[in-house]
Structure formats: structure tokens, C-alpha cells
């Protein structure tokens, strides 16, 4: 399988699309748009998983695709939207690192991911290699999002995007048991619950979602 073959090209297209959406997450200036982009990324992940299921002839990946489509493309974005509306949050994105520098850092991270992933996996087939490089990039960009945004909701979005990258890596490798995906999906639901409680509590106590306000509440002064 290499360039010019349909399975490779489609998988590449879907993974590349997810990577592109990760960059979009970084430069969106409104919270609502960020959540939309996350939903789109979840949808692409579902498509990528389904395609991999078709290519590898692994029916369990269709289940993964279904989980991704239902949870990541529909439920979680809806829940996030509902939270934003219910809490009447500010619609603007409050960044710790400006949009331009974040994008530059993102490009550097993608370069790093490719430099790491391609030589390490030289023995594997081309599809797995490219997929792994893109998945690692998405993971790194999710982390970057987590540390460059001040808003708690956006940190949750960064975590979700990171997890999308992990699942992309898992479905790209032939023979990965379904257990992994199921457990990561369960983990994400749990994380969402925790993050939701965290956000609500913060809102109630502090009237804001700026995590800077948390610092004096760790039992010690700064």
C-alpha cells in the first residue's frame, strides 16, 4: 500500500483533515466555533475508524466508529454547548499565548512528530507510519491547546482533541483489540463528567471560569 492507492489516500485524507481541524481549534477566536470544530473532528474520526474497519476487514472498528460518531460528534459537543448557554459564558477566547505564536508552535510540533514517528516506525507499513505521525501531531496540538488557553471549557476541548488523536492512532494499527477503544471512550466520558462538575463548581464559587482564580485555593498562598 502506497501513494496512489485508494485505501491509503482516503486514510491519509481523513487523518490530514483531523490535523487541519486541530489547527482550526487553535486559531478560532470564539468558544462556540471551537466546539463546532471539535464536533467536526469527532465526525472525521468516526469516518476514519469506519474506513479503517473497511480496509482491515475488522468489523469491531465499525463499533468504534459508532461510539466516536455518537459521543464525540454529537453528545459531547451538545453537552458543551448546553454548558456554555446555561452558564452564559463569554463568547471570546482568552488566550495565554497569542493566536499567531500558538500556530507557529503547532507547526513546530507537527514537524517534531513527523521527525520522531517516521524513523521509529520504519519497519511498519506506510499507512500505519503516516497515521501514527498525524495522530502524534494531533495529540501534541491538543496538549498545546490545553496549556495556551485560560478558559476551563477550552481546556476540556483540548483534552477531547488529544483523545481523538489517541483513538486515531489506535484504529490505524491493525489488530488492536476493541477493548482499548472501549476503555478510552469510557475514560473520556468519565473525564467529561469530572470536567463538568469542575466547571459548575468553579462557576458557583468563583463566578468565572478563569483558572487563574484557582491558584489561591490550593491550600497555600502563591
Amino acid at each position: 500500500m502506497g501513494f496512489g492507492q485508494l485505501p491509503y489516500d482516503v486514510a491519509h485524507l481523513l487523518g490530514g483533515g483531523m490535523l487541519l481541524l486541530s489547527f482550526m481549534l487553535l486559531y478560532q477566536r470564539r468558544v462556540g466555533a471551537v466546539v463546532s470544530v471539535l464536533a467536526a473532528q469527532g465526525g472525521l474520526l468516526a469516518l476514519a475508524a469506519a474506513w479503517q474497519g473497511f480496509v482491515q476487514g475488522a468489523p469491531q472498528l465499525y463499533l468504534t466508529a459508532l461510539i466516536a460518531a455518537v459521543a464525540k460528534a454529537v453528545c459531547i459537543p451538545l453537552a458543551l454547548r448546553w454548558t456554555i448557554r446555561r452558564l452564559a459564558l463569554a463568547r471570546g477566547v482568552d488566550t495565554a499565548l497569542g493566536i499567531g505564536p500558538s500556530l507557529m508552535a503547532g507547526v513546530a510540533l507537527v514537524a517534531l512528530a513527523i521527525m520522531v514517528a517516521l524513523p521509529v516506525t520504519s519497519a511498519a507499513q506506510a499507512l500505519a507510519r503516516e497515521d501514527l505521525a498525524m495522530a502524534l501531531s494531533i495529540v501534541l496540538l491538543g496538549m498545546l491547546m490545553m496549556i495556551t488557553r485560560r478558559n476551563a471549557i477550552l481546556q476540556v476541548v483540548g483534552l477531547m482533541s488529544l483523545e481523538n488523536g489517541l483513538v486515531l492512532a489506535a484504529v490505524g494499527v491493525a489488530g488492536m483489540p476493541l477493548v482499548v477503544e472501549l476503555s478510552t471512550a469510557a475514560l473520556v466520558m468519565l473525564l467529561l463528567v469530572v470536567a463538568g462538575i469542575f466547571v459548575f463548581q468553579m462557576r458557583e464559587r468563583l463566578d468565572s471560569l478563569d483558572i487563574a482564580l484557582l491558584h489561591p485555593h490550593r491550600g497555600e498562598h502563591e
Partner: protein, 664 residues
């Protein structure tokens, strides 16, 4: 045979599990008797392997770390030390049967860890056994943690064990491979070899108690229960020396230059001198014995360094002589020091104290223990025909051959080492004399000491094993060296011959030899003649009279056991040496507080000493620790985003490192 040894190690692990079952006295019986049996099995197998041929090949275990299976092997060097482990393990386990069974989980683990380290055929297994040994012995040191001093000793011990681990892991990592055979095929060169030398010397030296990394030893050995201190002093320090010899002499191979022996020689000479001097000044029996351990570890290290020097100068027979001295002294010291620690345990059990100022006259109450002690003390003082004399004679012969080293610098180093070694041996003899005199001779110094009873059956059996072996090795050192011959070949090359002349031992192509049986015969002849002459010439039969009071008046009636001050005290006997050598070597101090005229308070003489390493080492170490703690404390103050960024930056840094390594 390797399978049997591996099975023995597994059974020791099983015993540790058995010890967890709360079955009271019976659990102690099972664990200790099992340990004694397994130790005897180890000793038998090791001796059989040395005498009738070593097992070929390597036993690859079906489990191990991710990068390869663990493997066991038995060659001459490991068999020799395994023999020591078995013998001392047997006697210490027997001795422990006579007391309350304590530290039962750690005991078989300690034995098993040492066995694993000795049998290892790859770096991972060796380090695993070494660390298991450190951890299990730490548990034994910390057993009496209710006393503040023991807690401090255990903490210091753990710090030094960690230091040894952090130095040995990179030392084995720098060898380039884990499997010993692969390392021997491609030994390290250049800066890597020098780094292995430095790290190995620090790591194994910290565990063996080489100056200046000996601080933990005089604290930790007395803190452990006596059988455990016997094992620690007799075997654990030897396992550290085994690691040193394995790493520097065997694995790094004969390609290394001869000057590698100089640091070993210097560290060994310093340890020998300082340990022997401190053994003269300490007032606690077990602390004095621990200091004597430092001295003997130093002597063995000197012999190893000499073997390296001679091997580098292509002096095969001399190198074999030095290596033989190292192995024989390791065995001799392991046995007699274990014996002496067991004696100290029996004395503490019977007389209620380890302080020399509370003992005295025990030869009447505990005649058998005193006899065993006399054997051990004689060997430690290097008296013929005991084992200590044979091995130290070999060492001094090897040092006397130092002029054969071609370079003038090395010749001077060897001559200086000879002077220091001779001084250390003499000081050790003085220390042993003081120890025996204060504890066993004279009159009791405390009521508790006067009520002492002979040790029980198990304790006597535990002491008898090393005592008999000390005598046997002393009388037949040639046979012992013939057993050690495979080990000598591992250290200095396949063509080496042990320095043996029949039943005797010889040095320098037979120019000088030491035949203990002849010496024993002559000594016996002299003594019998003396006895006959005295009997013949004395006017009357011997009579027992009242002891001469040394010029003192009779004690007042309230002192039932005599005035304790009318006997020499431990500090009093130490005073001449403290004044002579303690000032420069040990930062000794002495101050007289004289009250002004008219004041009725008594004048006071305060005297003591402080180890210079204890003054110099911990302060910078503590400062470093505080600095690190401050930095770490700043990490705690990071914001939420700061913490996330830290993890992210670490990940990106590691990925960049990976990319760089891939690109190379």
C-alpha cells in the same frame, strides 16, 4: 547444579513468604532452620564445584526484564564467595535459632539477594540481587527502630545504599552490554573505562565501607541484631568486594592499564589504617568490630589493587599471589568476623551490654564462648597458626614484591602501602587484644555482667562452625588456596597458578614459604618445654591466691563486685593511641576543665574523637540536599497551567531527544 542453586534461591524467597504467616515461634523455627539448611546446601555445592569442576554454561531463566531473560552462572570467583555465603549463612542462622526469631521476612531475602548477586551472569540480575541485599539488610538494621540512634543509623545506611546503587547502575550501563560474556568480548575503552572505574569504586566502595564512604558501617552494624551484623560484616561487604573484583578485574578485562590498581591500593590503605585505629578507640564491642571490618575490607581492596598492578606489569605469579591473598583474606575475614559478631551477640545476650566498660571476667562465666572468641580474636590479630595470619602473610609478601613493578612511582606507592598495611595489621592486633582483655579477662565491671551465663546450644553451635573453619583454614591454607584457584584464574588470567607449596603456601617462586603445621609444631614444642621447665624448677605446687589488686585498697563493702574503677577502662586503654595518632587522623580532642581554687567541684577531663569523614562529608551533602529541596519546592508552587506546561515540555523534550537519536 545451576538448577539446584536457582531452586535454592527460589526456596529462600518462599521462606520469606512463609515468614509472613503469623505462626509465632514455629515460623521462626521453620524459616531459620530452612535458611541454615539452604546455606549449608549452597556451601556444599560451591565447595563441590570448586573441587570437582565448575558447571559449564549459563542457566537462562524463563523470565526477566523486557530486553532479555535473566541468567545465572557459576565460575571460580562466584563459587568462592558463594562458599563464604553458605558457611556464614549456616552459622548465623544456627545462632539466630537460639534467640527470639526476629526479622524473619528480611532474613531469607537478605541471604537470597546475596546469592542472586553472586550467581548473576548479567548486569541486570547482579544489580537486582545487590539492591535486594541492600534493602533486606536495611530492614534488619531498622529492626530496633524504637531507639533514636538505630533510626539514624538506618537512615544513613539507606542513603549510602542509594549512593551505591546510583553509582553501580551507570557503571554497568557504561559497559555497553548486559550479558557478562558479551562484555568480556568487547570491554570498555577510553573515557568509558575510566568512568566505570570511578563509578564502580564509589558504588562498591560505599557498600563495602571503604574510606571515606565508611560512615554508615560503624553505626549500622551494631544497630542490627547480632546474627544480621555477622552476615552484613562477614558476607555483605564481601559481596560488594566481589562486585568490585568482577567489574574491574574480570569484566573490564586484562586490556586495562596497570595504574587502575593505584586508586584501589590508596583507598584500601586508608581504610585499613583508619579502621584499625578506630577499632582501638571505640568503647562499644560491636562498633569496634565494625571498625575492624573497615580495616579488613581495606586489606582485601589493597590486595585487589596489587593484583591489578602486577597484572598490568605482566607479572603473572605476583598477580596470582595478590589475588590469592585477596580471596583468602576475604574468606578468612568473613569467617572470623562473623564469629566475633556472634560472640558479641552472645555476650550482649548474657551480660546485658555491649559496652566494654560494663563487661569483664566473662571467661569464667562463659568458657566456651571465650574459647570461640579467642580463636576469632587470634585470627583477627593475625596470630599463627590461624587463618588471618596466612592471608595477611600472603598480602605482605605481595606488597614486599612491589619493587618488581618497573616504574619508580609504582614502586614508591607499593612501599608506602606496605608500611601502612604493616601499621594497620599491628594496630588491629592491639585492638583485638584490648577487646578480649576488657570483655573476657579481669573482673566483672557490673552486677549484670557478673551474673552472666553460658550461651545456649544453638548459639554455641553457631559459633563453633566458623571457629572450627578458622582453625582449619589456618592450618591448611594451601588446601583453601587450591580451592580458590579457579577464582584466581578469573581474576588474573587462565594461566595463573595459586601460590601453593604442598600443604603450605609460598611466595616468590618458592623463595619464602609459610607452613602452618611446622609453625604449630614449633610453637607447641616451645610451650611444652616452657611448661616442663617451669614445673621442674618451681619449688612448690601452684596455688590459687587472691587477685592482686594492682595497688588499690580493698573496695568499700557496698561494691560487691569490687571497685569498677580499679580496673583499666576502655577509654583508658585507648588513650595512648588516641594521643599518638588520633590527633591528626581522627580529629581527636582533649580538654581539662579545672575549677578555680576554692571551688569544690571536681576537675574534669573530656576526651573523644570525631571521624574526619563525618566532619567533612555530611555538611556539603546536606547543603546539596537543601538546595535540591528548594528547587523542588518551587515546582510545588507552579500554577495549574505551569504544571501542565512542565509535563508538556518534558514530553516535547523527550521526543526531540528521540528524533535527535534517530537522526544520528
Amino acid at each position: 547444579m545451576l538448577t539446584a542453586l536457582a531452586l535454592g534461591l527460589a526456596l529462600l524467597g518462599l521462606l520469606a513468604v512463609v515468614a509472613l504467616v503469623p505462626a509465632g515461634r514455629r515460623a521462626g523455627l521453620v524459616v531459620l532452620a530452612g535458611s541454615a539448611l539452604l546455606s549449608a546446601g549452597f556451601a556444599l555445592l560451591a565447595a563441590g564445584a570448586l573441587a570437582f569442576g565448575l558447571p559449564e554454561g549459563v542457566l537462562v531463566l524463563p523470565f526477566g526484564p523486557a530486553w532479555g531473560a535473566m541468567s545465572l552462572a557459576l565460575d571460580g570467583l562466584s563459587a568462592w564467595f558463594l562458599l563464604l555465603l553458605g558457611l556464614v549463612g549456616l552459622s548465623a542462622s544456627l545462632f539466630a535459632l537460639g534467640g527470639p526469631g526476629r526479622g524473619l521476612v528480611a532474613w531469607p531475602l537478605f541471604l537470597g539477594g546475596m546469592g542472586l548477586a553472586l550467581l548473576a551472569a548479567d548486569g541486570f540480575t547482579l544489580l537486582l540481587g545487590f539492591e535486594l541485599m541492600s534493602l533486606a539488610s536495611w530492614a534488619l538494621v531498622a529492626l530496633d527502630h524504637r531507639e533514636a540512634g538505630n533510626r539514624e543509623a538506618a537512615r544513613l545506611y539507606l542513603v549510602f545504599a542509594a549512593l551505591a546503587g546510583t553509582c553501580l547502575v551507570p557503571a554497568f550501563g557504561l559497559l555497553g552490554a548486559l550479558d557478562f560474556a558479551a562484555i568480556r568480548a568487547a570491554p570498555p575503552e577510553g573515557w568509558r573505562a575510566v568512568a566505570v572505574l570511578a563509578l564502580g569504586l564509589i558504588g562498591a566502595g560505599a557498600k563495602a565501607g571503604l574510606v571515606p564512604l565508611h560512615l554508615w558501617l560503624p553505626l549500622a552494624h551494631p544497630a542490627a541484631p547480632s546474627p544480621a551484623s555477622a552476615l552484613m560484616s562477614g558476607v555483605m561487604t564481601k559481596v560488594a568486594l566481589y562486585v568490585l573484583a568482577r567489574l574491574l578485574l574480570d569484566l573490564c578485562g586484562p586490556v586495562q592499564p596497570g595504574w587502575w590498581g593505584v586508586p584501589l591500593l590508596a583507598a584500601g590503605a586508608a581504610s585499613a589504617l583508619l579502621g584499625a585505629l578506630r577499632a582501638n578507640l571505640e568503647e562499644d564491642a560491636k562498633v569496634a568490630l565494625a571498625c575492624s571490618t573497615i580495616e579488613n575490607v581495606g586489606l582485601v581492596t589493597m590486595a585487589l589493587g596489587l593484583a591489578l598492578l602486577f597484572r598490568g606489569a605482566d607479572l603473572g605469579p605476583m598477580a596470582a599471589l595478590a589475588a590469592g591473598a585477596a580471596l583468602l583474606h576475604a574468606m578468612a575475614h568473613g569467617l572470623f568476623k562473623a564469629l566475633l559478631f556472634l560472640v558479641a551477640g552472645a555476650v550482649q545476650h548474657a551480660a546485658g551490654s555491649r559496652r566494654l566498660d560494663r563487661l569483664g571476667g566473662l571467661i569464667h562465666a562463659m568458657p566456651r564462648t571465650a574459647l570461640a572468641a579467642l580463636v576469632g580474636i587470634g585470627a583477627a590479630a593475625a596470630l599463627p597458626p590461624l587463618s588471618g595470619f596466612a592471608s595477611e602473610w600472603l598480602l605482605l609478601q605481595a606488597l614486599l614484591g612491589g619493587w618488581r613493578l618497573g616504574e619508580i612511582g609504582l614502586q614508591v606507592v607499593a612501599a608506602a602501602a606496605l608500611a601502612l598495611a604493616a601499621m594497620a595489621v599491628a594496630l588491629a592486633a592491639a585492638a583485638m587484644l584490648r577487646l578480649f582483655g576488657l570483655a573476657f579477662l579481669g573482673r566483672p565491671r557490673s552486677p549484670r555482667g557478673a551474673g552472666a551465663r553460658e550461651a545456649n546450644r544453638f548459639e554455641l553451635a553457631g559459633m563453633a562452625v566458623p571457629a572450627v573453619l578458622t582453625l582449619l583454614i589456618g592450618l591448611f591454607p594451601g588446601l583453601a588456596l587450591a580451592l580458590a584457584a579457579p577464582g584466581i584464574r578469573v581474576l588474573v588470567g587462565p594461566a595463573a597458578m595459586p601460590p601453593v607449596v604442598g600443604l603450605a603456601i609460598g611466595a616468590g617462586e618458592g623463595h619464602s614459604a609459610y607452613a602452618p603445621l611446622v609453625v604449630l609444631l614449633l610453637l607447641g614444642l616451645v610451650l611444652v618445654t616452657l611448661w616442663l621447665v617451669v614445673r621442674r624448677r618451681s619449688p612448690a605446687l601452684a596455688e590459687r591466691g587472691p587477685a592482686w589488686n594492682g595497688g588499690f585498697i580493698d573496695p568499700p563493702p557496698e561494691f560487691v563486685f569490687g571497685d569498677p574503677l580499679s580496673q583499666p577502662s576502655a577509654a583508658g586503654m585507648a588513650q595512648p593511641l588516641r594521643r599518638m595518632l588520633g590527633g591528626s587522623l581522627l580529629a581527636g580532642r582533649e580538654a581539662v576543665t579545672m575549677p578555680p581554687p576554692g571551688d569544690t567541684r571536681p576537675a574534669r577531663l573530656e576526651a573523644g574523637f570525631e571521624d574526619r569523614a563525618a566532619l567533612a562529608l555530611p555538611t556539603p551533602a546536606a547543603r546539596l540536599r537543601d538546595a535540591i529541596a528548594d528547587q523542588v519546592e518551587r515546582l510545588r508552587g507552579l500554577t495549574l497551567r505551569g504544571s501542565l506546561s512542565l509535563g508538556f515540555a518534558t514530553l516535547v523534550g523527550l521526543l526531540a531527544l528521540l528524533a535527535w537519536l534517530e537522526a544520528r
